[in-house]
Symmetry: C2
Subunit: 434 residues, 2 copies
């Protein structure tokens, strides 16, 4: 795409959407078409999408599109009339969870789901204090944005929120990864609980992405969260698992992130990949928590659980199953991480290779011994990959970790193509100095 058209679009954005509306890359991409793991820009250039988890079963998957078209041309209405679509979907969804997680509220966005989850915890505990990590993101409503330290604070004093240090398997709290790190993290949570209990709001809930994806997806083995869950339960608190990113089979091993790490949350929130791009999300809880919420709060969502959203979400589950996409995530993810580790033998900047299934990446450092983050180098890598037709990005505690989170039909061949390009980019950029 010509620089002129890009700057024309950016100028229109600033005029119509306001300032500071973020885009990816030094040269933002103007996308016009998507299919499977591929997207195309306005000039006809093709990109391998290694970033977008929203088109979970692949961009414009024909079965999801057909489901949407079929239902949108038949009926779209709200849940104050009876419709089997929402019931069939919630029944199917509930079957992917371990008992007693068996009831759901359907919303349009993960933010709405987390906003409800906080109120559910309040309904159950009668308290408001919430614990989150210091590098998390759970959404954009006023109540949920207060959980993010990275959010520019403003509304409300957020005095009911406590932040604990995000787990980092590469630089673990206490110095040693594994069970000791898990206990150190749980101790921080216990401190925060005590603080909430003694300072006013009381302890209501902890909300965690069970794979800590925004935090840089630390390598945490099953059982790692057990000490945290123990201190939360002991204090009578609620454990909310935010599955907006790790859910729907992406980790390759189990359908949900919390299942992979081996914990049972009280409330689970869902979002992004649920409808392959159609705005659908939800909250899952057991019948008692749902009843407590419904008793304490009035809640109705006009678009939530409408027949079209449910049809899209159902088609995603169908495709997942019929195309074996959870298995694919495990197999291709393992292959890709092995390839990344192989690249690490050649490139000193790759300090750590991490992830599960099709959410993985490499932490880039200027020095393997000091593990000093190569933050601006990682930005250069993402931009250069984009120029060479590969879309990925970076995240983590130091924003130096390559974030690779492709649509689920990502193949070994796609992985090899991505790795080959990355090899070339690292060769050409040379050592990371930052």
């Amino acid at each position: 795409m010509s620089a002129t058209s890009t700057s024309r679009l950016l100028a229109r954005r600033a005029r119509l959407l306001g300032p500071n509306v973020s885009t990816f890359y030094d040269e933002p991409v103007h996308l016009v078409k998507g299919k499977g793991v591929w997207v195309w820009d306005a000039d006809g250039n093709r990109y391998l999408d290694c970033y977008n988890n929203v088109p979970h079963v692949g961009h414009c998957h024909p079965r999801v599109v057909d489901a949407i078209c079929q239902q949108a041309s038949t009926l779209n209405t709200h849940t104050r009339y009876l419709h089997e679509g929402i019931l069939d979907y919630v029944e199917r969804l509930a079957a992917t969870f371990d008992a007693p997680l068996a009831t759901a509220i359907m919303t349009c966005t993960g933010s709405e789901a987390n906003d409800i989850a906080l109120r559910m915890a309040e309904a159950v505990t009668g308290k408001r204090g919430v614990i989150a990590t210091d590098h998390t993101y759970h959404g954009n409503t006023t109540a949920v944005a207060q959980l993010s330290r990275t959010n520019v604070p403003g509304t409300g004093d957020g005095s009911h929120v406590r932040h604990v240090p995000a787990p980092d398997s590469y630089r673990p709290l206490g110095g040693v990864a594994g069970p000791a790190h898990a206990r150190a993290f749980a101790a921080k949570v216990e401190e925060a609980i005590d603080d909430l209990e003694t300072s006013g709001p009381g302890f209501s809930a902890i909300i965690l992405c069970p794979a800590f994806l925004n935090e840089g997806f630390p390598q945490l083995e099953p059982g790692w969260l057990d000490p945290v869950v123990k201190v939360v339960r002991k204090a009578g608190g609620v454990f909310i698992a935010d599955e907006v990113q790790p859910g729907f089979g992406r980790n390759g091993y189990r359908f949900w992130g919390h299942q992979r790490i081996g914990v049972q949350p009280d409330i689970v929130t869902l979002g992004k990949p649920m409808g392959n791009g159609h705005p659908v999300a939800g909250v899952v809880a057991d019948a008692d928590i749902m009843a407590a919420f419904r008793k304490s709060f009035r809640y109705f969502n006009t678009f939530g659980g409408n027949p079209v959203s449910c049809a899209a979400a159902m088609a995603v589950l169908d495709v997942m199953e019929d195309e074996g996409l959870q298995d694919n995530a495990r197999v291709v993810g393992e292959h890709a991480r092995a390839g990344l580790s192989k690249l690490a033998e050649k490139h000193d900047c790759i300090g750590d290779v991490r992830g599960y299934g099709l959410f993985f990446g490499a932490e880039l450092v200027t020095d393997r011994e000091t593990r000093s983050p190569a933050t601006s180098y990682a930005t250069k890598v993402a931009n250069e990959m984009r120029r060479r037709g590969i879309l990925l990005n970076k995240l983590g505690l130091h924003y130096n970790t390559l974030k690779i989170r492709p649509p689920m039909p990502f193949s070994k061949e796609n992985a090899d193509y991505m790795l080959g390009t990355l090899d070339g980019v690292l060769n050409d950029l040379g050592p990371a100095r930052d």
Copy 2:
């Protein structure tokens, strides 16, 4: 639909969605199909939809369905890539507003839009106090639910919210409708402003549906809100117009509710009818307010403004224009209200006929002199209308006002059919005793 299948569906709902998930009517309707102003239940019975404003241009309008299918099969992604869909839509939308309302944030729900609007006001004023009416509803997020007195309170103390008595043209504050009523309402707002300013949070914004639709759509002539706007501006506050219900030409006279009553808001929020059922909503403000918000708060909405949502919303504007639906709303609305007034000559229970365009209805009373609300009688009327194939409902300060808010292609013939059925129902039910 057999009573057995209804009770089977209700039992599944209770099991899968939890208790207290509201339905309409004594016998909830199980809808399976919609087309234009008609919907069908699972037994093939047809109903005239006189209630649903979400399918704004008609249930399953083929042009909206086509736009969704076309774009969903081409590309659906987020706004961190460039795409012309959101820019073309916001440009077209902005042209329907009076300057300087020219920038927008696209969201998925009206609740998300109002949640942002409150933060915009805070960003501009540096204060948090909000004024709403005591019978309003602005949405379901934690922050927005605090505005509703009818919401079961819970989260947050809501100490930054003040409620003013909802305008009632049939029983006006101060006893006399018109300018005196307007001044009386403005005086209540001024009191609330003073209270907020002296008690801590300060005065940030007033949020009003400019047609007070949940409050029972009082008959308020252009200019009625002028005294309120004056006291708000004098105090340096922000006026948020919630157009989730009255917008998109429904009032028949002007495209927006605030334009009909002749005021210029600082922020406008949009929702329900925007995408004919597709989850799309938004906030419109001037460039300064948008910049202040973007400076104070981080905001990104994964599904907000995606190409499919924008295509659906654009198709709605196309259909509105090509089918002359705003004019239709005015002409049919006037015809229907004339018909309702004619029914009032026969039926003493009709105390007041009100509304604009295709949001109108009649307040039912047990006695025209005392204007005593016929609340349970109104419930009977709505249920009996449903049994005779007409879907409408009731609302208002006493829940005794028939709420008639059909899809915009509603015709004079549809109106006459509805009125004929209503005549029969009122005849058969006999006088309202409550």
